[in-house]
């Protein structure tokens, strides 16, 4: 997995993006301001920042679930809108959003059905994906019979069913306890290495961001800007030993300091932005 600039294709290119939310013609919040970011094929990029910094909004811009007020978002060399219509990415949200009336298997088959993939191929792909997330034995179960972590694995299997070039994950492990979360981190890394998918991952957790990523994009408090992009030079494959490596702590510290500088961890800039958030009526 090499990262030679210039030879590796750019999967996501964000240029000069602003995002403002308006109500009745008036600008209510500026979520993002002046975002420039390039993500290359095969990278694992985390977006981290304080609440309300727009990291989820940025992810949704990439996924064409919302449009920028200014600037452009290109995915695989075309506008994000075309990429969505071409079903070129998979999304995993914080809640698994599985259909409770479908079995695990049928949930994974959903995107395949929508694309009109023939039945035999659907079966095979679904089985493959469930094997990838190690849930083979639960294919005939219903979501309510699974734990939170298992449901998220089904959501990941579904997101990968169409073999997208890019996987967007929005705090997928936020609702899980610490130990399950660490285990899921390992799972995601394994899947990443097996499939070679480019992953953009939004998180609140500094250790998680550093553990998983090749690069960490640190964002400032609202209006969201990119404070710093930290290269994570830790070797692969990463495991529990990595979490105890002194270089890991160095990177974590680097990220933390960048967050503080952008107003993410309290301090004058952070407190001011929190107060502004409260006055505006909450997290955007």
């Amino acid at each position: 997995m090499t990262d030679e600039p210039g030879t590796t294709a750019s999967v996501v290119r964000i240029s000069g993006v602003d995002k403002q939310f308006t109500a009745g013609g008036r600008v209510v919040t500026t979520a993002l301001s002046g975002i420039d970011l390039e993500i290359r094929r095969g990278e694992f990029v985390s977006l981290i920042g304080p609440s309300g910094c727009g990291k989820s909004t940025l992810l949704r811009l990439i996924g064409d679930l919302t449009t920028p007020s200014r600037g452009s978002v290109e995915v695989n060399g075309k506008p994000a809108h075309s990429a969505r219509l071409g079903r070129e990415y998979g999304m995993v949200f914080q809640a698994p959003v599985l259909f409770e009336w479908r079995t695990v298997e049928d949930n994974v088959k959903l995107p395949l059905e929508l694309l009109g993939v023939p039945r035999a191929e659907r079966e095979e792909r679904a089985r493959e994906m469930l094997h990838l997330v190690e849930l083979d034995d639960f294919s005939r179960h219903h979501p309510y019979q699974l734990s939170g972590g298992m449901q998220q694995r089904v959501a990941i299997a579904r997101a990968l069913a169409l073999q997208p070039a890019i996987l967007l994950m929005d705090e997928p492990f936020g609702a899980l306890d610490e130990m399950t979360r660490e285990r899921m981190n390992g799972e995601v890394l394994r899947i990443w290495q097996q499939t070679g998918t480019t992953i953009v991952f939004v998180t609140h957790s500094i250790p998680e961001a550093v553990f998983l990523s090749t690069r960490v994009v640190v964002m400032s408090a609202r209006p969201g800007r990119i404070t710093k992009v930290v290269d994570v030079q830790l070797p692969h494959p990463r495991n529990d030993d990595t979490r105890e490596d002194p270089r890991y702590f160095e990177v974590v510290t680097e990220v933390r300091e960048a967050l503080r500088a952008g107003g993410g961890l309290g301090g004058p800039a952070g407190l001011a932005s929190e107060e502004r958030l409260a006055a505006e009526g909450g997290i955007g």
Partner: protein, 284 residues
């Protein structure tokens, strides 16, 4: 939309055997059975002991005798009456449900229609619709079963329409966003998300509708109808002071209602075994 099971990735334990389950059920219902037996026994004793002029409130034994004697003989054949009334109720149920479904789908499709129609339907539900029974007798013919079917249909229409409209539109926004991320068409969203979502709502409405259809049929018969129906038997036997037959007819009406309801419950278990209410959990 999906709730996690408490266990951490372990499949549910196997259910106890058939006999054991029946035994459990029996013990569970024992207090209720005791109450039933007690009430019937006390009733019988009271009538005998106090030698109450059992004209208006006959002893259970007298009602039982009337039921047997008049099953298919005598002035008021009860079985035939129950069958005809049930036929009217089912007819009304089918008509009302069909129209309710059609209107619900139409209303759900156009958001503006829904905002207009739904509150009106809820308000209309507050009207004692049964007052229209004599009009329908006049329109469709007093002795024609169709008049009773139409009363039943009108009563059934509202809960079906209201509930199915809610079921089609009250969908988890995250699920809709998921479908959007797959660039799914409105038609696909209807088939794969809205309709399955609406199924529990529909079955809830159906449970209410079965009772309403019987009410519509029987009350419609009170206001006029052919002889061999439950409503007419009640009115005629009461005016002939044969209250044992009257109560027997009522009993049949009630039993029909319970049977009708149990059919829908069985339908529920078959169609939506994954739903929280069917699994027996405490739902909101």
């Amino acid at each position: 939309m999906t709730a996690a099971a408490p266990s951490v990735g372990v499949p549910l334990p196997p259910r106890p055997g058939r006999a054991a389950r029946l035994g459990q059920r029996f013990v569970y219902y024992l207090p209720a059975i005791a109450v039933f037996v007690g009430v019937i026994g006390l009733w019988e004793l009271a009538i005998r002991a106090f030698d109450v002029r059992a004209v208006i409130v006959p002893a259970p034994s007298a009602i039982g005798a009337a039921l047997v004697d008049n099953w298919d003989a005598g002035r008021w054949p009860l079985f035939a009456a129950a069958r005809t009334t049930l036929f009217e109720a089912v007819g009304g149920l089918v008509i009302g449900t069909t129209i309710g479904l059609v209107v619900a789908f139409a209303v759900a499709r156009w958001a503006n229609a829904r905002d207009a129609v739904l509150p009106v339907a809820v308000a209309a539900n507050a009207i004692p619709i049964i007052a229209i029974a004599p009009i329908f007798n006049a329109w469709f013919g007093t002795t024609n079963p169709l008049s009773k079917m139409m009363i039943a249909a009108l009563l059934v229409f509202f809960p079906v329409m209201i509930n199915v409209t809610r079921g089609l539109t009250q969908v988890d926004p995250a699920a809709l966003e998921l479908m959007r991320s797959y660039a799914a068409s409105e038609w696909a969203i209807l088939r794969k998300v809205r309709v399955p979502n609406a199924l529990p709502f529909f079955l809830t409405a159906l449970k209410v509708a079965t009772t309403l259809s019987l009410i519509g049929a029987i009350v419609g018969e009170y206001f006029g109808g052919a002889s061999g129906v439950i409503g007419r038997v009640v009115v005629q036997s009461a005016s002939a002071l044969r209250f044992d037959v009257t109560w027997a007819a009522i009993l049949l009406g009630a039993a029909s209602g319970i049977a009708f309801y149990l059919i829908v419950v069985a339908l529920e278990r078959w169609l939506i075994p994954w739903h929280a209410s069917v699994r027996g959990e405490e739902t909101g």
